[in-house]
């Protein structure tokens, strides 16, 4: 399995002897001894620090099919360098578009995405409910919302329902997390520690999904639940819905309740909360560990990592689109 590399340190990445050479810089801008990264083992690069690079490097990365994701100082996702599409399939493209345009077909998929997402959220809540955190009221109301799922006929209404479910779900965070309070979910900018973590984690999940979609025939811009906008990969948002509870939220609970992150890992600036560099590193490490965790897959009968599950989800989606097999959203079965 190819690895993801996370670049926190400022430095220069260059092409050297047909592989990658990273020359980190210390705080004073002095160059440290270079590190070589075996190109054959790289799946993508995540850039948090200042990265120097030239077009020769990007040509090389493009050829080696390595994507680079960039994040700004406030840990917002700013964009990706995506290598040229290499898995082209006109048929999938056409069918995917058809599934978006035909309302009944689109509703089917949109509904399934919400169903999967809500199921995984409930699973999280039940887990904590069994561990002396009383989140029963939230479980009940999400279940009620779930029953309304089949009554709706418009995608907008489904998005609204999704919003309601998520609001309920986030209320439960207050109970689950020991040290911190969350209050309302705020983004742009996140107002407190938990909100900052959720934003950061969601964005990690989003880039993960995008990275995996790239390795399938699906077109990342045509989505079903979210409205496909310009300049964004909205299919990644759809997929991320299903995996956020499993990958992001569970990681947040772990790092906070195990006190891997504490109040002094955050900085409160003018009505916004920012994670310090060390905190980002800790969280990304925990996230990386989480997505590399393996489980025994029931139908494949072998162990697969959570990261690979995302790709399997893409395969299921393409099968649905081509009419081979009806899509079943991923639901945690353990």
């Amino acid at each position: 399995m190819k690895k993801t590399y996370y670049l926190f340190n400022a430095g220069r990445m260059s092409r050297k002897d047909n592989t990658l050479q990273f020359t980190p810089q210390d705080e004073e801008g002095k160059e440290l001894p270079p590190k070589y990264i075996p190109i054959e083992s790289v799946s993508d690069l995540y850039c948090y620090g200042a990265l120097d690079a030239n077009s020769a490097l990007y040509n090389f990365l493009g050829k080696s099919q390595v994507a680079v994701h960039f994040f700004d100082y406030y840990e917002h996702y700013t964009g990706s360098f995506m290598p040229k599409d290499y898995l082209l399939a006109g048929k999938v493209q056409i069918e995917q578009t058809m599934h978006h345009v035909k309302k009944e077909k689109r509703m089917v998929l949109a509904r399934l995405f919400i169903e999967g997402a809500a199921f995984n959220m409930l699973k999280n809540l039940r887990y904590y409910n069994n561990r002396e955190k009383n989140v029963q009221p939230q479980i009940d109301s999400i279940e009620q919302f779930m029953e309304m799922l089949h009554g709706y006929t418009e995608v907008d209404e489904l998005m609204g329902l999704e919003g309601n479910i998520r609001q309920c779900y986030y209320q439960a965070f207050e109970t689950i997390i020991d040290e911190f309070t969350m209050g309302n979910r705020t983004k742009q900018p996140p107002s407190n520690e938990v909100n900052a973590l959720i934003s950061f984690g969601n964005m990690m999940c989003y880039s993960l999904c995008l990275g995996q979609i790239y390795h399938t025939q699906l077109n990342p811009t045509i989505s079903f639940l979210h409205e496909p906008g310009a300049r964004r990969y909205s299919l990644a948002l759809d997929l991320a819905e299903i995996f956020k509870p499993l990958l992001v939220d569970r990681t947040i609970f772990t790092v906070l309740n195990k006190k891997q992150l504490q109040a002094d890992d955050f900085r409160i600036e003018l009505n916004r909360c920012i994670m310090k560099d060390a905190a980002k590193k800790t969280f990304v490490k925990a996230f990386e560990e989480r997505i590399n965790e393996t489980i025994q897959h029931r139908s494949l009968k072998r162990s697969v990592s959570y990261k690979h599950l995302v790709k399997l989800e893409c395969y299921k989606l393409s099968k649905h689109i081509l009419g081979v097999e009806t899509y079943k959203p991923f639901k945690t079965w353990w």
Binding site: K3, Y6, L7, N9, D17, T19, P38, I39
Partner: protein
């Protein structure tokens, strides 16, 4: 598959071997590399190496293990290059 690759190659050709190995594995010490690699990629590495090696004089040894966790690694003295994905 997780491998440790060591080579003993005449000085004239050693640079080429070093550069080739850097593309596939992590350098850990002079003439020693290790890392996760697939069966096919390892074959590719070997066949590319054979193109410039003189097989009567040079030698490469590859230690294979199914997974990194079956490898117990003990370091005495300094670790020359830590293998990390967080840079």
């Amino acid at each position: 598959m997780y491998v440790i690759l060591v080579y003993d190659i005449e000085a004239r050709r050693v640079g080429r071997m070093l550069k080739l190995c850097r593309q596939y594995l992590n350098w850990i010490q002079n003439s020693v590399f290790e890392g996760e690699i697939t069966e096919v990629k390892l074959k590719e590495l070997i066949s590319r190496a054979k193109k410039f090696l003189v097989l009567e004089k040079d030698s490469i040894i590859i230690f294979k293990s199914r997974d990194e966790k079956w490898l117990e690694k003990q370091i005495v003295g300094c670790e020359k290059n830590k293998i990390e994905t967080f840079l």
